[in-house]
Amino acid sequence: MTQVTLNVNGSAQALELEPDMPLLYALRNHLGLNGAKYGCGLGQCGACTVIVDDKPVFSCVTPCAGLEGKQVRTVESLGSAEQPGPLQQAFIDKQAAQCGYCIAGMLMRAQALLEHNPHPDEQTIREHMSVNLCRCGTHLRIIEAIGLVAAQNRSAA
């Protein structure tokens, strides 16, 4: 056991954990955050996607030990069920979920895109999102939801 300080959603958290523990388990079990999901533990499906500094990462294969001094953001940072952020609201408006298990990871990967490129076109969205898997076949609605925020960004610009 080692003390590792993680900065998650803007607050520093000193945790006693095994330094090889992937970030996913620290988020879920030590910080009680549900957003990041276990899907494969191999960095193949993206259900565990979170943002570290400004990049989407697979939290299931990112050891906690290397994360000190970095800013970790999970889907919880985007808003709440009562007060959803713009991307969450777009997913609700488009009803862009079926089972919803992949959705938190989808939101975080999309969020990372929108922070770099506020108004991506559909082709860019498809390519960027190709890292994450959905088994229910909700892809077209997810693309629409991201496109909705991209359009809002365009009209705001």
């Binding site: 298990y101 076949g137 909700t138």
Partner: protein
């Protein structure tokens, strides 16, 4: 609105005392049992055959609706699998109680609280539970109005209701909670319910947003994986290298010494570790895999031999449809052999369960599709009376059928029984889900059919080979962990689901008008791999084969394929979906660029549920054979629509998932083992590969019975792709998935 006619009661009338015997067997001497439906394979007993929907199995009104001063509670035995059914059921109940959806607490499957509706499967939820609630809620409201009318001395016909309050003449008002005091809701439902003109529906037919999505987009507790109980420990299982392997050596002591490990469980060939922290449990599991020494195990065939093998394994032959007198004309007949590979459910989240054995009762939180059958299986396995086991549904990742959910629940139960008083969470690893979930069966279907001189379908010969599609939990032996114990349980014999629902033979009987049929199923009982239910069962390959045959017969005869279908469809609702798609896609327009193709398909799910016609435009890359779907147009008729956007979402999802099965998926294996242990060995489409555009046309039928939606497009989508590929390439690809390398050179 008569919801009763949705379901022919005689189909299930032979379900007696848990024995599922087929009364109308086609074989006089047969002692071959059939299961009745995918839903009530077990446990549910028809008490009231004349009642609509699941009132037939749960006829008392208070099984569905209870009203008190704390509000209105509605109960369903169905579960949310990610299809939005919880929201749709709430809409139905609220509509017929004439209250706001927010006034209702809706509880889904829990063996301590809700009716036993068997499994949530087979597109039956709205069909069964929705129909029950549609009727029960209206009957309860009527009883409440009668109660108010009696106490006021006013005829009930003069009363109205709004927002849970009954209004009478001269400003009289009474809440439902007050009115219910003089009503006993423990009352048998009636076969007829108060009618309501569909035009007055405020909720049914409207797109209420799903209740579950806000939590799912914001990290709220939404899944069984998110359950955290006080003092909960984390468990992992250690599975043999293959079914049937025997544990020779295992160093439990060294694993017990690892940090955080609380328990190392060994019972015969069953191994599990329990630790304080999840990551510690994973590391202990990995040590366990390294330490365990196994021998023997089932022989795994070579993938290239599987279809030959299926034809030679022990099987039972079931006549499915033998109508008319074959003319046995071979001239001009079209003949084809279609094959399908094993498929995975491939849930994004591997199976998970939490169990707690406390004060003599075992409680299991599970994403099973059937809490009652699971309870019976677990009770038998852990040797507790069923009333000492409670199974509570909590959502998991989408399952699309019988995946690892029940087995993971059994794991949690076994481990929790070893640790009385302590809640235990079991999470399967990705490779455990992939290697141990029941697959969708590899299959073969052979079709031979011809048109007569007038272009009418004449003889329809069809034969299929399949392993079971319904290895649901009818006894402890159906639970994988129970087979590994020192005192192992054995799986109950396999039984196919009878027509018209069908098993591997689901949708094997075309809806088209045929002069004669000879349709048979070879039900292969010795399974090279454990197989069970996956969305649409055999309908995927059967509709693919039927619709390929229709196109080929049309082409041979020089008839437009859509016209040939219409020439043989008598049902106006079937014709309507076909005509809508034909017109919407501008049939038969074909683009001229090389590799472009268009394909059409139609089916009515199980010939008794939702109607679906579908057309696909795609391109087959001339060099690589890679297929890009440009456009999908579909029209569906599922009776009275409950939630149009929810229906659209299900249909879109079904289209993309069926495209994945049809174009990409097969479990990879050889004699050395299963190779599809992660997503690299079982590719499914990514965003860059999914269809560019999907147009869904909804043909609403106000006032007609609910027919169910979730599985209706799986077959037509596969078939339309197959037909579009043939149109694009001039060659008929008959081996699924449709990769160029999978077809004969």
């Amino acid at each position: 609105m008569t919801q009763a006619s949705a379901h022919n009661p005689s189909r299930r009338a032979f379900l007696r005392g848990g024995a599922l015997l087929m009364a109308f067997t086609l074989m006089p001497a047969a002692r071959r049992a059939w299961a009745d439906t995918e839903v009530d394979t077990l446990g549910t007993v028809v008490l009231a055959p004349d009642l609509p929907g699941s009132l037939r199995t749960n006829p008392y009104l208070d099984a569905w609706i209870r009203i008190g001063h704390d509000g209105i509670t509605v109960y369903t035995g169905k579960v949310e699998l990610g299809t939005g059914v919880k929201t749709a059921l709430l809409q139905i109940a609220a509509e017929r109680l004439e209250v706001a959806p927010t006034a209702i607490t809706l509880l889904t499957a829990d063996t301590a609280l809700t009716p036993n509706e068997g499994y949530t499967a087979g597109s039956h939820s709205i069909f069964d539970s929705g129909t029950a609630l549609f009727n029960a809620a209206a009957q309860v409201r009527e009883l409440l109005m009668d109660s108010a009318g009696r106490s006021w001395g006013v005829a009930a016909a003069l009363l109205t209701t709004a927002e849970g309050v009954i209004h009478g003449p001269s400003g009289l008002r009474m809440t439902y909670a007050d009115a219910v005091r003089n009503v006993d809701l423990h009352l048998y439902a009636k076969s007829e319910s108060p009618s309501m003109p569909p035009a007055t529906f405020k909720l049914i037919g409207h797109s209420l947003q799903r209740l579950d999505i806000p939590a799912k987009v914001s990290g709220g507790p939404a899944f069984v994986q998110d359950i955290r109980l006080p003092g909960m420990l984390h468990a992992r299982v250690i599975r043999p290298p293959r079914p049937g392997s025997t544990l020779q050596a295992f160093d439990a002591g060294s694993i017990k010494a690892l940090p955080g490990v609380v328990e190392v469980m060994r019972d015969g060939n069953y191994l599990a570790v329990v630790a304080r922290d999840e990551w510690q449990a994973i590391k202990a599991m990995r040590s366990g895999y390294e330490s365990a020494r196994w021998s023997g195990g089932q022989v795994i065939p070579e993938a290239r031999d599987i279809h030959t093998l299926l034809e030679h394994l022990p099987s039972r032959r079931y006549p499915i449809s033998h109508e008319g007198t074959p003319q046995a004309v071979t001239d001009g007949a079209y003949q084809a052999r279609v094959t399908k590979q094993y498929l995975m459910h491939g849930s994004i989240g591997p199976s998970c369960a939490v169990a707690w054995f406390k004060d003599g009762t075992l409680t299991v939180w599970t994403h099973t599709q059937g809490v009652y059958p699971l309870r019976a299986g677990i009770a038998e396995m852990v040797r507790l009376p069923p009333e000492r086991v409670r199974c509570i549904h909590a959502e998991g990742s989408g399952c699309y059928g019988h995946n690892g959910a029940d087995d993971a629940a059994a794991d949690a139960a076994l481990i929790a029984m070893r640790m009385p008083g302590t809640p235990v969470r079991v999470q399967w690893m990705r490779e455990q889900e992939n290697l141990w979930e029941p697959y969708s069966s590899a299959m073969i279907s052979e079709v031979r059919a011809n048109l007569d001189a007038r272009g009418r379908l004449q003889d329809w010969n069809y034969e299929l080979w399949t392993t079971p599609h319904n290895e649901r939990i009818v006894n402890a032996g159906r639970l994988l962990p129970a087979r590994l114990l020192a005192r192992p349980f054995t799986s109950a014999p396999s039984i196919p689901i009878a027509q018209p629902e069908g098993d591997g033979d689901r949708n094997a009987v075309p809806l088209y008008t045929l002069a004669s049929t000879r349709i048979d199923m070879n039900f292969v009982t010795e399974m090279p791999f454990r197989t069970s239910a996956m969305r649409s069962l055999g309908a995927h390959i059967n509709i693919f084969a039927i619709e390929a045959c229709m196109d080929e017969l049309a082409n041979k005869a020089g008839i437009d394929p859509v016209a040939l279908r219409l020439n043989h469809l008598a049902d106006p609702r079937a014709r309507a979906v076909v005509e809508r798609v034909r017109d919407a896609i501008g049939w038969p327009h074909k683009r001229n660029e090389p590799g472009a193709g268009i394909g059409f398909a139609f089916a009515r799910y199980k010939n008794i549920m939702g109607y679906c016609a579908l057309a696909v435009r795609l391109q087959v890359h001339p060099q690589t054979g890679e297929i890009q779907i440009d456009q999908v147009v579909t029209a569906v008729d599922v009776g009275q629509i409950v939630n149009p956007d929810g229906l659209r979402n299900q249909v879109e999802g079904g289209i993309l998932q069926s495209a994945s099965w049809t174009l990409y998926e097969k479990v990879a294996y050889d004699a050395g083992g299963i190779r599809s242990y992660d997503w690299s060995g079982y590719p499914i489409p990514r965003f860059s590969q999914v269809p560019k555009k999907v147009d869904v046309h909804l043909l609403d039928q106000p006032g007609q019975p609910f027919l169910g939606a979730a599985e209706i497009v799986q077959g037509p989508m596969a078939a339309a792709i197959g037909n579009a590929v043939a149109n694009a390439t001039g060659r008929r690809w008959l081996n699924l998935p449709l990769t160029r390398s999978g077809q004969p050179a």
